[in-house]
């Protein structure tokens, strides 16, 4: 078969391979064909009928999402037939829609709103009584506003085909069709919030973002989820230096269009409301920065390097870890290097069981010099920890700690310095499969917080003065 065929979409002549899906081809060439049910990671459902186009030779409009292209095919996305068919699909979809955009969280990023504006009619012929099904709770994480649902089935398909959980189904038939869980059952999926992302309308809403913010008021940034070594690519919405929402960002290699529910709540669970280490501390008493670094330098020099344990967190970026590696090589080359234990494995989809993003980067940088913590039997006079809460199994007399959050052990710790948290630094993580992913800063760190690089930068000159 001829690998190169020609297709004409509107005024564009396109060379492509036969059998390519028309809707994908159009998108690739910058021609928008509206769609609701179609999603590149789900099986073609073909039910919403918004993607109508005219194909020359066919008397009726065709759905672009289920049209494999043929040589010589002539497609019109703006012909009267296509435009009229799309208008009516929107008319049908909006007939029973509550039109409650002012109180809908999806407003501003809703394809019903967007397409209605772009492709819809400016009036309606519908004067009948609207269907008004109730709003229901699907789980602690998710609500369903049935009156906004357009029954595109993306949510059902995602749970069934991607997550492998038949937890959502269509209840009733025809005009009464609605999305439901099995009677009396909550959604249990650990990935259920993906359904809210792919819901093209405001029918599914995460309880943790419901009525919280208007999306156009949020600052939009991109990042990498730090919760596990998968490193799902994310979009971060921020207001007042607080992360309001995390949603996945497409990365074919790493996480496709998805991320787990836990990763989305990383900030609310592990960051936003946690008390930060704001200043420098010496055994529970405040100490000024200058004295802190002088004292730490003196203390490090007092011990033989062989009696020092350097703990490096798997939450640090490669750049910080490299800075630590260079520092140890230059100044404490006889010290022992370790870090948090590594938890093998993961679930059926994305989640890896290890807590933190960069266990692989940590081990890749230190290579053979890194000691797995469970194999460390000797005792140390002093530990210098970059973000690692020392486990009780470690035998250490004294601790110098650079970290972001207040912990109970800090009150008795020899020296404590304020560190930065995820979001406050830029750098890269190496995911469990070896993919190096860089990310940017999107949160402001506390004034005194130091990255490892900065911390070492201040310590080094003092050590060299020995």
């Amino acid at each position: 078969m001829n690998p190169e065929i020609s297709v004409k979409i509107d005024d564009k002549e396109i060379k492509t391979a036969p059998g390519v899906n028309l809707i994908d081809l159009a998108k690739e060439h910058g021609i928008e064909i509206p769609h609701y049910c179609y999603h590149p990671a789900l099986a073609v459902a073909g039910n919403c009928r918004i993607c109508f186009v005219e194909v020359e030779g066919m008397p009726h409009p065709q759905i672009a999402c289920n049209t494999p292209v043929r040589d010589g095919m002539v497609v019109r996305t703006k012909s009267e037939l296509a435009v009229e068919a799309r208008k009516w699909t929107l008319e049908f979809l909006l007939a029973n829609h509550p039109l409650d955009c002012p109180v809908c969280d999806k407003a501003g990023e809703c394809d019903l709103q967007n397409y209605a504006f772009k492709y819809g009619r400016s009036h309606t012929d519908f004067v009948e009584k609207k269907r008004t099904p109730a709003t229901v709770r699907l789980s602690d994480k998710l609500m369903l506003e049935k009156d906004r649902c357009i029954v595109c089935l993306r949510c059902v398909q995602f749970l069934r085909d991607v997550d492998g959980k038949e937890e959502l189904y269509v209840h009733q038939r025809g005009n009464s069709a609605e999305i439901a869980t099995a009677p009396g059952k909550d959604l249990e999926s650990d990935y259920q919030l993906n359904t809210a992302d792919i819901c093209p309308v405001g029918a599914l809403s995460p309880t943790n973002f419901r009525f919280a913010e208007r999306v156009w008021n949020l600052e939009k940034r991109e990042s990498i989820c730090p919760l596990c070594p998968r490193g799902c690519n994310t979009k971060i919405d921020i207001k007042d230096n607080v992360v309001q929402r995390v949603v996945p960002r497409f990365n074919k290699e790493v996480n496709s269009y998805w991320m787990c529910d836990e990763g989305r709540s990383y900030f609310s669970k592990y960051h936003t409301n946690r008390r930060r280490i704001e200043g420098f501390w010496h055994r529970g008493e405040p100490i000024d920065a200058a004295s802190f670094f002088v004292s730490v330098a003196r203390r490090l020099q007092q011990e033989a390097a062989t009696d020092i344990l350097v703990l490096v967190s798997n939450w640090l970026c490669n750049e910080d870890i490299q800075a630590i590696a260079d520092f140890v090589d230059g100044s404490l080359s006889a010290a022992t290097i370790s870090g948090p234990p590594f938890k093998e494995g993961g679930d059926h989809l994305l989640r890896r069981w290890d807590f933190g993003p960069n266990a692989r980067g940590l081990r890749d940088i230190f290579k053979g010099r890194f000691h797995e913590p469970n194999k460390l039997k000797q005792s140390f006079k002093l530990a210098l920890s970059f973000g690692v809460t020392p486990s009780k199994d470690l035998n250490i007399d004294e601790l110098i700690y650079l970290g972001a959050y207040m912990e109970p052990f800090i009150a008795n710790t020899l020296y404590v310095a304020p560190g930065v948290a995820h979001g406050e630094i830029h750098g890269s993580y190496t995911n469990f499969a070896g993919v190096v992913q860089s990310f940017d800063t999107f949160l402001e760190a506390p004034v005194q917080a130091h990255t490892c690089e900065e911390f070492i930068g201040k310590l080094l000159p003092l050590l060299e003065h020995r």
């Binding site: 459902a45 009726h60 289920n66 049908f92 029973n96 009948e128 038939r173 025809g174």
Partner: protein, 415 residues
Amino acid sequence: MEPVLSRHFNDSQYRDVDTYMADGGYRVLKSTLKQRAPEEIIQTVKDAGLRGLGGAGFPTGMKWSFVPSVEERPGNRYLVCNADESEPGTFKDRALLTWDPHLIIESMVISGFAMSMNIGFIYLRGEFTEITPIIEKAIAQAYEKGFLGNNILGSKFSFELYLHRGAGAYICGEETALLESLEGKRGYPRLKPPFPATHGLWRSPTNVNNVETLCLVPFILDRGVKWFRSIGNDKAKGPKLYCLSGRVKRPGVYELPMGINLKELIFEHGGGIPNDKALKAVIPGGSSCPVLTAAECDISMDFDSLAAAGSMFGTAAVIIMDETVSMVEALYVITRFYAHESCGQCTPCREGVKWMQDILRRLLKGRGRREDIDLLITMCDQIERRTICALGDAAALPVRSFVSKFRHEFEKGIQ
């Protein structure tokens, strides 16, 4: 015409395998397995010109030849008998299922042999509860006699047959929704292509035929193409079951040649209209077919003639309306049915058909608006051929025809 399909109607003794056999039953199966090659059977069905009687009228022999060969696609291959008969006005398959279950089994084994299928399903309309034990018993008897199972009658051909009861959804008569339902899923019609011939039940080669279509096969093989083509007129051939209902003196199932004149069917066989009322309109092929006015009823009942007249032969379910029938009410009842039976996948069908029902209800109650009638026609334009399956068309076609042909009655409903 000598009764063929209806020869055992109203006589329950033929439900028993012995009586059925004493009347020549399973004789054609025996001779077919011994003497005929599968390709030869398919060719014979093609030569006879048999067309599907489930509504669409697709040439049966051609449909069978789309099924890939066993060499190409080994493994399980399925023959499905569509006994979901739910189109309003249609009750012909029900008669066959009630009175001649062994004819259906014999037809299925023969047809299964022709397409080298090894598994058969009878998908029975859920509401046919009284038919269930009849079919169950017949299947058990056919197994006992060796007409089903392994190496049927000592041949190399094996065929298992199962009865599957639907759960009360008209849409499961649509062949791909039927297959989804058989797979234990929600009865949603599938996007086509691919077609069941290559990707049917569990993605395996599958053929779905209507009960009546299948039941004609043994007769064609036994009596020959010439006999089959001697019945009917110049447009269509073979025996056919017609269902008469509505305002007619003798409603029921009639076996008559293909291509019978519609007026003759109503007035001679059906005895005409009760109480000397005048004929107003006829739906010739089940509720989804465009209505004919009384003046249009002098017509041959066959696929092509009715298509030429802007209607459809459908399932040959003739619904008769006299001068006292309100066309608005009749259409409301039909539209309510399709709104209720839409599976709800496609936007135009899910939203549009219920909307049309609402408009018709207002017109019926005298609360119509001037724009409603044109709106109904526009909606038909936007539902027809805009959906995954033909239910959207089935809902729109009657609306378009009723409203265009009897517009004055609808206008009376305007406030």
